[in-house]
Amino acid sequence: MARKVNLRIWRGDSNSGSLQNVEVDANEGEVVLDVIHRVQATQMGDLAVRWNCKAGKCGSCSMEINGKPRLACMTRMSSFEEGEEITVTPLRAFPVIKDLVTDVSFNYKKALEIPAYEHPADLGPGEARMEQIDVERSQEFRKCIECFLCQDTCHVIRDHEENKKSFAGPRFFIRVAELDMHPLDMLKNRKRTAQEEHGLGMCNITKCCTEVCPEHIRITDNAIIPMKERVVDVKYDPARWLGSKIRRREG
């Protein structure tokens, strides 16, 4: 049942590196991560790769497979043609640590910049009442497994290191959207902060993030575009602007 496949694996560190060819067995039903593990156990004991759950739920084994940001645990070997060469490289938007492992600390820094959830002061334990339909909007974004593939593919930062300072990226736009749509969150002006401090305006809605999302979160349609529209409304419509000043929350 096993067939031989040719893998080109990027090996190296922050100083230098190159693609290395390796021939390895692949069995029926396997995914790219299985094959990488076989390489590790039999040919390259020190090959660095992150992984955890192996079921598409933790978002650890993010890498680029034939140039596309993918989860290695969700990329089936049967999706490649017989004899097709498979190239695996580390995420391009982040600095390489070793082999397929990159330094994703950028994302954890950005997480610190998004203001946290604020619970209503007068709502005690067990008192919250929310409609299922209202929680579902935020729940879509809370499915995020933080694989950071959307961050990796986003062309605002993929080849533009200089933009990283002022751009939080799609993962954190859905975090803002999730809080903004949270039925109980009390913090005001989340959309405006997204625009003014987290670089929402730099996104030109090419939807690359949505395409790579393994959780199929409609990042652009359901989070980014609605926030952009509301920011525009609030910013340029004098009546709405005034409304946002007197109502509890903006738009």
Binding site: G45, N52, A55, A111, L112, Y117, G126, C144
Partner: protein
């Protein structure tokens, strides 16, 4: 060798899953400086895999529920080997822990009245599991991860440094807990990224490292489940209790090979999924044990009616506790009525409309569609038992989560023992994490405030450093990957779901042999993000855990919960009163018997005495509780 990094904290939490994060939040909110260590990136812990929900008797769906009912279910599920006090605290405090998460921003699914919704699960009398679709664990982790970020944002505002009082050390392995003068002084480890070593000085250490699944060949656990905390605690002088009890989850994926062992949530059965063999028989009706006969339907008609009317019908046997279902599947496969891949069929497609399946079980649909090419809205899943959870673990004081015998050491979550007895009910793990994670944080905080920290000696540092360097100094030694595979074969074949004395004896010998060879593991490459190097330490932990499990299993001459002896098939009153305590004497694991704490009268009286008669001796019944 680069210079040793040194840190000082009040509380060091090893493990960043549900229990660790909850402990860290509690200790920080008590005003202490806290470090959280994780082997992976922050937010990747195995808790994210928990699907079904968190059990808490809020009574939102059936108002008949309360802590007493939850307590009874938990004790029944554990076949009355649970530490009663842990089960009591857990049942009483779970609802508050769920509400607390909601106040931190968690978004649980709702009832029509807008309350937190609760679902049915195996062994729970009422719908009890607070849930978010089938990704409840992810919601827990994310909520607590974001709570920690919130605490850091507060510190950034007050002290100009987000990491002033709570810091996450991601991708760091702890190799040793250091004691000085008989109490905890800190811990030692290395950064996985660069291999450079780190010393943490801290008067209190909370172990929250999760489980041991990687000791076994077929498991739902990720690579992190290597029993690190169990082994660290043993080596630090703590005890492990009842390590023979491992939960084989009845429904793991069996095909294709790449996903073998990955969990198929119990919610599939809770939502109406039916188990059949290759003859098309709904076989669970044949496997209802005597003690559960009055609670489970013995015919299909009644079982089907239960989904519509739970008050007037008994539950379908698919919802028996996990140990019963796992053994039943195992028997069907052994009798030749299993699929070609060694499983049975689990089908939800005939009972529930496709759109409802996709809504209620979205990640299951996704998992089967993307990984197995199976559309569960149209076809049956192939499932079989997978090593899922260890009930055994560090012996703790229930109220404080303090490890017995080691001042300054605490343990919570899967790594702690006692709470679940011989078998854990689904949904009781997420609530366990919250209840005892918080208690460990409180316990550690109280301890720190009452003790004087001791410095770590140079001799302890040197010993810990030498141990990390050792595998690099040996050339041409054993390969850690191969030894790990050998260990998994031994546990799978000889210490698995069905056990016998002779096989366990054989296993103990083989594990000792592998352990001897593991002293000679050598590592290729350097220290930089080197998985072979990392595995060398994980392997050592798994070997100690496997030894403890095999030795406890051979001593327990009965079958109960997650421990089934072919040569001793029944439950025994005598053995119900016995805990097995594992300790480490410097060279091997030693197992002794200890008396299980008896139920106090007020908890004893919560049960119908005729039910207790099925588990207890006439003397215990006559006594009617311990006080």
């Amino acid at each position: 060798m680069t210079e040793l990094e040194r840190y000082k904290y009040d509380v060091l939490v090893i493990g960043a899953g549900g229990a660790g994060l909850r402990a860290a939040v509690e200790a920080r909110e008590a005003g202490l400086r806290v470090a959280i260590i994780c082997k992976s990136l922050f937010g990747k812990a195995h808790t994210v895999m928990a699907e079904g929900g968190a059990a808490a008797s809020m009574g939102n769906v059936n108002s008949g529920d309360n802590w007493q009912v939850h307590f009874r279910d938990t004790m029944r599920g554990g076949k009355f080997l649970n530490h009663y006090r842990m089960a009591e605290l857990h049942a009483k405090e779970s609802p508050d822990r769920i509400y607390e998460l909601e106040m931190w921003g968690a978004l649980f699914d709702r009832t029509k009245e807008g309350k937190i919704s609760q679902r049915n699960f195996g062994g729970h009398e009422y719908p009890r599991l607070a849930h978010v679709g089938d990704r409840t664990g992810l919601e827990l982790i994310r909520t607590m991860q974001q709570k920690i970020v919130q605490l850091q944002q507060k510190d950034a505002r007050e002290y100009g440094d987000a990491q002033a009082n709570i810091r996450v050390f991601a991708e760091l392995t702890i190799t040793e807990i250091i004691k000085e003068g008989g109490k905890v002084a800190g811990a030692y480890g290395y950064w996985r990224e660069g291999g450079n070593e780190v010393l943490f000085e801290a008067p209190a250490v909370v172990i929250a490292t999760g489980g041991v699944g990687k000791t076994f060949k077929i498991t739902s656990n990720s690579w992190e489940g290597t029993g690190d905390g169990h082994a660290l605690a043993l080596k630090a002088g703590a005890n492990l209790v009842d390590m023979e009890f491992l939960q084989f989850h009845p429904t793991g994926m069996v095909w294709p090979p790449s996903v073998r062992g990955i969990l198929v949530t119990e919610s599939v059965r809770g939502e109406g999924g039916v188990l059949t063999n290759t003859l098309g028989e709904r076989f669970m009706f044949k496997y209802i044990p005597e003690v559960f006969k009055d609670k489970y339907a013995d015919n299909e008609e009644e079982a089907d009616r239960w989904y519509l009317d739970q008050d007037n019908n008994r539950r379908p046997p698919e919802l028996l506790p996990r140990d019963e279902v796992a053994r039943a599947i195992n028997s069907e496969v052994k009798a030749g009525r299993g699929t070609e891949h060694g499983g049975v069929f689990l089908d939800v497609s005939k009972r529930i409309p496709a759109e409802v399946i996709k809504k209620r079980l979205p990640s299951m649909w996704h998992q089967f569609y993307e990984l197995a090419g199976v559309d569960i809205t149209k076809e049956a899943m192939e499932v079989g038992p997978t090593c899922h959870y260890v009930m055994g673990g560090v012996e703790v004081e229930p109220d404080t989560a303090a490890a017995v015998g080691v001042p300054g050491l605490f343990a919570a979550g899967e790594v702690a023992g006692g709470m679940h007895g011989s078998n854990r009910l689904g949904g009781n793990s997420l609530s366990d994490l919250l209840v005892f994670g918080r208690r460990a944080g409180m316990g550690a905080a109280a301890y720190v405030k009452s003790t004087t920290p001791v410095a770590v000696s140079d001799a302890s540092v040197k010993a810990a450093a030498d141990r990390i360097q050792a595998p690099f100094t040996r050339a041409g030694g054993e390969n850690a990957y191969s030894l790990h595979q050998e260990l998994q074969e031994v546990t799978h074949n000889l210490v698995g779901i069905i056990r016998t004395g002779s096989e366990l004896q054989d296993a103990i010998g083989k594990i000792a042999e592998i352990r001897k060879r593991s002293q000679n593991v050598s590592v290729a490459g350097d220290r930089k993000f080197n998985p072979g190097f990392h595995l060398a330490f994980d392997l050592d932990n798994m070997l100690l855990v496997a030894e403890s499990t095999a030795k406890s299993a051979i001593a327990r001459e009965e079958s109960r919960g997650g421990h089934t002896r072919d040569d001793f098939p029944g439950m025994s009153d005598k053995w119900r009163q016995v805990n097995h305590i594992s300790s480490y004497n410097g060279s091997e694991v030693v197992v002794r018997e200890q008396k299980l704490p008896a139920l106090p009268k007020e908890l004893f009286d919560l049960f119908d005495v005729h039910e207790l008669e099925k588990y207890m001796t006439p003397e215990e019944i006559a006594k009617g509780g311990s006080n």
